[in-house]
Amino acid sequence: MKYQFNWSVLWTGESGQWLLSGLITTLELSALAWLLAVVLGIVSGALRTVKFRPLRALATFYVEFFRNVPLLVWMFFWYFAVPPLLPGATQEWLFGHGLEFWAAVCALGVYSGARFSEVLRSGIQSIPRTQFEASTASGLTTFQAYRYVILPVALRLIIPPGTSESLNLLKNSSLALTISVAELTFQTRQIETYTARAIEALTAGTLIYLVLCVSIATIMGWVERRTAIPGLITAGRRRR
């Protein structure tokens, strides 16, 4: 191996700026997609419990179809196939305002929403029905039962798998590079192309992802331990 390391490429020239703007784009993309995913997850999770059959079928279809198809296919679908179907004015606006970014937000958000929906469902389902019955029997209204009995436990149960899914979302945002969103992986490749310093550029990108993921996991692990109810859920057990 005759590779000469030259780490200074990471802070000379425009590299540092590129990495920073890539990191910001990754965070923006992930945050917007996360919000969309949470909303879709809650809505579809709730719809899967209603009595009206067509709505339930629609929610099940959404979860099963979007979850089981590769995100990369959804990226291409939202970027290439959806815009031509939109009305002219919307298309114009999108072409002027970073179509690839919004396509990536939709692809990532809609895909992850289907996965969040499953996390929420298994969280709610793991609470025995008798808990609800006992709360109503002791005189709580339905709202109170959810507010004081069901949700406090369900939310705690959801923290570990929810964290893991959110980290998946963050890592999956790297696929946006395929539709040329200038996020972190894209910028890493750009530095590599401009400086021909492959190992240095990839190390920088990899470390940024690693630090992001490990710190989010650590913070959420701390939240999980802090909010644990003694005797109810084993405190501090890591289930990522």
């Binding site: 089981n68 679908f77 990899t206």
Partner: protein, 225 residues
């Protein structure tokens, strides 16, 4: 309007070259997914056992391995192997081997965690009983712990296999002619993105959904009545 003719005209290319992997290009979703699942699982078993090893010098590297690969995106791992390994070896590697090794290395971290949880789900008494009847450590692992662990692992294992199957689409980024890349190539010529991407979505969905159905069936059959 929806033009399904585009699918019909390109069906042999999409399915035989893209999905199965027979044709003029190195490609094939199945050709990549099957060895990736098998090899990833084998490496995952070693990682999972390593995570529980009593020896520190095995346990710590295995843990670092898992934590590292679960903290980085798969695309990054693919780029590392694609760009850096040729620099080190001083010669280029075919896309198939780049993609296969990236998937095996990356997924083994996730599969290792599943194996670890599966091993931990086997009651301690089983190991003690196996040792008491005179089995060695390796024999205990192979004929007592792993078979029982495997049964408990099946649901999460199949979920991870489905994830891996979907992840093989990332091989298209480095030019491997899998189903996704085949659809891209056809789309460049025909400009029918809606039909083409929806079609491959359905093909992927049929595969992953039948895998999850089969897992549910297996789970029911194996669970003690």
């Amino acid at each position: 309007m929806l033009d399904l003719g585009v699918i019909w005209r390109n069906l042999p290319f999409l399915m035989i070259q893209g999905f199965l992997g027979f044709g003029n290009f190195a490609g094939g979703t199945l050709r990549l997914a099957i060895p990736a699942i098998i090899l990833g699982f084998i490496l995952g078993i070693f990682i999972g056992i390593g995570r529980l090893a009593p020896q520190r010098w095995i346990r710590v590297p295995a843990t670092l391995y898992v934590e590292f690969f679960r903290g980085v995106p798969l695309v990054m791992v693919i780029f590392w192997i694609w760009i850096v390994v040729p620099v080190v070896l001083n010669r280029s590697i075919p896309e198939f081997w780049v993609a296969l090794s990236a998937f095996v290395i990356f997924e083994a971290a996730y599969l290792g965690e599943i194996v670890r949880a599966g091993i931990q789900s086997v009651p301690r008494g089983q190991v003690e009983a196996a040792t008491a009847v005179g089995l060695t450590g390796t024999q205990t692992m192979r004929s007592v712990v792993l078979p029982q662990a495997l049964k408990n692992m099946i649901p999460s294992l199949v979920t991870q296999f489905i994830v891996l199957f979907k992840d093989t689409s990332l091989a298209s980024i480095i030019g491997f002619m899998d189903l996704t890349k085949a659809a891209q190539v056809v789309n460049n010529r025909e400009i029918r993105p809606f039909e083409l991407y929806l079609f491959i979505a359905v093909v992927y969905w049929i595969c992953t959904y039948s895998m999850s159905r089969y897992a549910r069936h297996l789970e029911k059959r194996l669970s003690p009545a």
